[in-house]
Amino acid sequence: MTDPNTISPLDLETPEKPFLDANELVINMGPQHPATHGVLRVILRLDGEKVLGLECVIGYLHRGVEKIGEHRTYTMFNPYVDRMDYVAAVSNGLGYCETVEKLLNVEAPPRAQHVRVILTELNRIASHQLWLGTHALDIGAITPLFYTFRDREEILKIYEKYCGARLTTHAFRIGGLQYETYAGFEKEVKNFLDFFRPKIDEYEELLTTNRIWVERTKNVGAISAQDCIALGVTGPVLRASGVKWDLRKAQPYANYKNFDFEIPTGQNGDTYDRYLVRMAEMRQSVRIIEQAVGAIPEGPIMAKVPKVMKPAAGEVYHSIEAPKGELGYFIVSDGSTQPYRVRVRPPSFVNLQALDLMCRGQLVADVIAVIGTLDIVLGEVDR
């Protein structure tokens, strides 16, 4: 074999010898690709099977939510936020309601806070279930999808009974809750927990030691804690890289400080660790709901809020730990009935920026795995 060092520079410059491998291939993925979880277009730069880099083209679902917010009253805008991250509508509502409450200087009563925590944590489980099912399906395991959708149904049934909607729930109101819990709510939530606890083990039995799953996820799309922070990546992706940071603990909102739970973290920041972190988060959510459901305090469910909301001129930034990361709202009031500006800081949008870095050097097939593991919802990316 010729030693590459002995080849004279002249040889490298001869154009008569085309190296087919050296040709970069640019291919387009999406926006209608089923594994992009919506309408995400990715332009891939490939060297054979290896990804050299990629660019995301987004905006296909842009509906101008922030512009709409400036033309609706505070109350009217509330259901719009459900349509951003439509698999975690309850979380979006919690963030929005709490931000406006801060602006109005009111606080939801303890009973409302408690029910909010229960519904939001159920939502976290539902969101992670949907992520697990679709992520596993993308990688080629079809069974988890049936399992998770079957079990998610139980959560949606609770939502439907509570507020009439399954997906875009509009469960919370500014100042508390619109609806009192229905008769048997606590019992049904408890039943769900008893039903769901062994189901997490079932999911894990299917995947955690499954050889194909491990091969497809271990050391795939790894990202370091340093890169996560530089890119502003939050949520399970950040935690899987080893950063023990969760807004429920770092800057507690609602009444999360009353509950005992842990922040699961990973070490390698790869797809497998993110899978483990989200599985552990579902268990922690179960733990929070367990504590909350037995101790819902009596009392009113709405704080005293004016019928016509006119917060004094000012601005508030408030954020919550949504299932996907830090979901922030920056609302500016000019003293009128409509917000002067509603800015949404969507976790999916910021996390998606890391896709390029995470996919570099990986195989084309791994791009699918990485998109899945980022857990993006395009409704939230594009707003």
Binding site: I58, G59, H62, G64, E66, K67, I68, E70, H71, K102, L103, N105, D227, I229, A230, L231, G232, V233, V243, W245, A250, Q251, G314, E315, V316, Y317, S319, E326, G328, F330, V332, Y340, R341, R343, R345, F349, V350, L352, Q353, D382, R383
Partner: protein, 158 residues
């Protein structure tokens, strides 16, 4: 924290508080330095958000806001500056890589340019679109009809 900046830069900084949240309005000329200091000396290593506000009746029409967070301090800070329509700002991508898409969104929605940004182009709206929708003079039903007709082959998007 903000008091410290006030001590350092004097009249260039206006400290404000609303609903228990402290923020500061800094002079445009101080922005590059303040952002550097916040990142490198005060450990604000996470750029949470960059956004803007439009006040069409004001002389300096735009407010640009940086929301920063420090993991070490568990503290959030908001820096605000006012700029004229058409004025640009230095990009903070060299400071926080995550500022990339956030600045592109500000450009897309408000038309504010960030100098030194590696890829200053629209992000949510199509490249050829005219107008910046989050400006107050852009109507809620307004669209770039020309773009819609050429690219979608329909009379109007409404």
């Amino acid at each position: 924290m903000i008091a410290k900046f006030k001590g350092m830069y004097g009249s260039g900084i206006v400290p404000l508080t609303y609903a228990g949240q402290n923020y500061m309005v800094a002079d445009r000329s101080l922005i590059p330095e303040i952002l550097q200091v916040l990142r490198n000396e005060e450990q604000f290593d996470y750029c949470v958000d960059i956004t803007a506000l439009h006040y069409p009746t004001r002389e300096k029409q735009f407010d640009v806001i940086w929301v920063l967070y420090s993991f070490a301090r568990n503290e959030r800070i908001r820096v605000k500056t006012q700029i004229l329509d058409g004025a640009s700002l230095p990009s903070s991508v060299p400071i926080w890589a995550g500022a990339n898409w956030l600045e592109r969104e500000v450009f897309d929605m408000f038309g504010i340019r960030f100098d030194g940004h590696p890829d200053m182009k629209r992000i949510l709206l199509p490249d050829g679109w005219k107008g910046h929708p989050l400006r107050k003079d852009y109507g809620i039903l307004q669209q770039d009809n020309e773009w819609v007709q050429i690219n979608l082959g329909i009379e109007s998007g409404q």
